[in-house]
Symmetry: C2
Subunit: 303 residues, 2 copies
Amino acid sequence: MSYPKVALIGLGLIASSMFWAMRRAGMDSHVTGYARSQDTRDTARRIGLCDEIVDTAEDAVRGADLVVLAVPVGAMGRVAQAIGPCLKPGCSITDVGSVKAAVIEQVRPHLPEGVNFVPAHPMAGTEHSGPEAGFAQLFDNRWCLIVPDGASDEATERLEAYWQALGANTERMDVAHHDQVCAVVSHIPHLIAYTMVGVADDLSRVSDQEVIKFSAAGFRDFTRIAASDPTMWRDVFMNNKDATLEILGRFTEELFALQRCIRTGDGDTLHDYFTRTRGIRRGIVEAGQDTDAPDFGRGGKKD
Amino acid sequence: MSYPKVALIGLGLIASSMFWAMRRAGMDSHVTGYARSQDTRDTARRIGLCDEIVDTAEDAVRGADLVVLAVPVGAMGRVAQAIGPCLKPGCSITDVGSVKAAVIEQVRPHLPEGVNFVPAHPMAGTEHSGPEAGFAQLFDNRWCLIVPDGASDEATERLEAYWQALGANTERMDVAHHDQVCAVVSHIPHLIAYTMVGVADDLSRVSDQEVIKFSAAGFRDFTRIAASDPTMWRDVFMNNKDATLEILGRFTEELFALQRCIRTGDGDTLHDYFTRTRGIRRGIVEAGQDTDAPDFGRGGKKD
């Protein structure tokens, strides 16, 4: 049921974690890898990533039963154009992009008839990037959203089984809904964290040194988020513009309402608001998507 | 050099952690505790918090060499008014509030001559609150900012030694600067996290269930921050209004600039911005205020 030959295009955190997770799962697929940068390919060879690292995307995909596009969202179309003519008839192709409408629009035109395109989005990551950042456990108990968008049930189920073998839970979602959910739970939080860290950096009176020295919970968490890969995130915002701008509008509207409470001294409204948000946290812990252990920013544990 | 008798007023996360840290440090101080709520006092007695739990703040502070005000910032003035007449001549009194100008303004008028008021702010916390949330390691390698504001060197040094024995590093800071640094590294990040979680909660199309189910890094970190104690945080914003509103203004100005980049498709500016913020993260890790281990929201570790 797995894929005898897999091609990983792009060898960053996600693709390298996929490789190690495939090995951990005992899959005997032959895995070919390609990255645009010579440096990345050299590193991949040095650390034993993939069975074979090749120097062109075209070579990587020839004969592959599954092709994984694991490049920044903005590069998906270019890669699809290059590899389209080399794809094996009947093969499956998927991606790991954080936005789906734009990726589908950019990739689909370059795919030949008879190829199964099953877009996907593993919702997992760390603030580290590159081929050495990957590890086999990255997807364990995380969600991989599958956006069939017309793919056959057979091809979809096969990709779902593959992601489940890598440790993920899978769920199908339609394109627009995917892009909106992700704007809320991922894209806007990242933009906000980047902004707050940028503001701190700008404050000359509060020197960098002090912001770093006294960084407290809150800001420290933001800096971790704001250390995420710049290219990946630029592409997310360039390619999920509508949902991002809509959620941003709601966010600033709400922030202004709280700002007004601060200015006018309306503590009751603030208290009610802060009480409501506690419940969501409880839900996330109960859903097994985070632990309830106190996190005070240094991996410490209560006793 | 330590204090023979210590009174803890308010028995939440900070005070209970102070007690366990004092015990860990082998201090033989006699510790008396008081909390306004009968429930909290009962819990404290049940879990063995403090040597003695008493039913009024006045009884708690009688004869104490150090009185610690560990109540929400908005309650400091009321407590000071109650205990002022009962303070032992020459004793030290401190607080653990996250804002300093407002606390000093509210507390100082109620203190008799000859008492040493040394405001302080241990920059440590978790998203949990209450007497059972405390643990001895909370302050280890964290900063405790000391704001002498006219206190004698002797009283200041004694409090610094006490906090160092509890595991913290100490640094002196003036009042206004303290309130501004904390607005940047703590208060505004909390307000933003509360807002984002509130926005997610409001979106009926993206049902709660989905926001929780698919919560990704970013949002998940925000929910942890936004689960912090509502009363404490209401009081912070009510009492650090000027610095909060100023930093909020800078934040929204900068957020609008990035929003404009998204709308106009200016990916270069976004990329530059996202690259700059990575450096701050590096500084925090190098300063030992966080670890570089990948955090993907479930306390997991690489390998």
